[in-house]
Symmetry: C2
Subunit: 203 residues, 2 copies
Amino acid sequence: MKKTSTPYHHGNLRKALLEIAVELIREKGADALTIREVARRAGVSHTAPYRHFKDKASLLAAVACEGFEMMVKETKERFSEIAHDTLARLRVCGIAYMEFAIHNPARYRIMFGSGRPHIKNSALRKASEASFGLLLECIKECQKEGTARPGEPMEMALAAWSIVHGFSMLFIDNQIRENSLFAADRKSMMDMVVNNLYTGFRI
Amino acid sequence: MKKTSTPYHHGNLRKALLEIAVELIREKGADALTIREVARRAGVSHTAPYRHFKDKASLLAAVACEGFEMMVKETKERFSEIAHDTLARLRVCGIAYMEFAIHNPARYRIMFGSGRPHIKNSALRKASEASFGLLLECIKECQKEGTARPGEPMEMALAAWSIVHGFSMLFIDNQIRENSLFAADRKSMMDMVVNNLYTGFRI
DNA sequence: ACCTGAACACCGTTCAAGT
DNA sequence: ACCTGAACACCGTTCAAGT
């Protein structure tokens, strides 16, 4: 009756822990993410997670890392669905970013979590830079084709990142929705954001 | 030897607790903000704070509230220092916002803290709306004078808020500085942000 | 009114010990 | 290798009791 994986060993505890962590945050908020509760749900002792993650911060870093990878993947999928139009791609870059944040608020908050204790995690850094790189490339392509004004691409990417990140944060923290000052729905608010960045305030 | 305030009663515990809370976050990060540690530093039992704040979230809400009031005050002070130039005021609105965030990162993070548990606090909401109102008025004035393009002011204010909030968050979470992709200093990065919003990406 | 101390039900982390 | 249980030093919150 012995298989390669026994009932005693959990098989893929690491993966299970990550899934449970996200579940937990989604269900009960960031404060409910407790290493002991994750272990409980996994049916494992509260010290078992320490075999897979150095500490709580490392668990959070892993969740964040997955998040950036998901974001990049989703954005690329959208790219392949549209014609090769540089401006459309730039727009998709922003929209996909905000939609990811809004659809995965718990995870997104961890990705940019307070006090960034886990930023020195190198896998996480690499994943986050890949996401930024996508944006940067889009801007450069637009400039090459003449659909965006000339200018330092890095500066423009920073502005673009700021606006989509700012909107996402404000939205998921209910700083916008509950204000009731904004009548518009999600979709049109996201359009507003990218349109305003493209058009600017100048006359 | 009896004065109006005895050594037994603390006098102004509430105020002291708020100050200590900010100190604590600045020194040791958000995780170190513990109601027990605040009480310890105030030289008071760990349950005394509950006389002044319903729970930890209420303490945080009070800290956040003070923050918005400080931000509005600082922005208005800058207004009075410059000529009455609508566009300059709009710019100052953004710069003052980002500078407040960067100079008070701990407090700023609480103001937009994860999971907004205290947003239903009405004093906090009022203070935050006052800050947004300032921005909204600036935009309307610019439109009246023809220094900003026409358009729904609310939408434009949301875009402006998003970009300065996004930049502030990215900066204080070291998502920008440690990237080392950006050679620029604080001051010129903030200029970049407002310039990009004003100019836009269009040709 | 304002403050205290004990108590309760939790945490994260460590470490010797088990299979 | 992987997991457990007890232990340590903490939390937030409640509540009867003191001045």
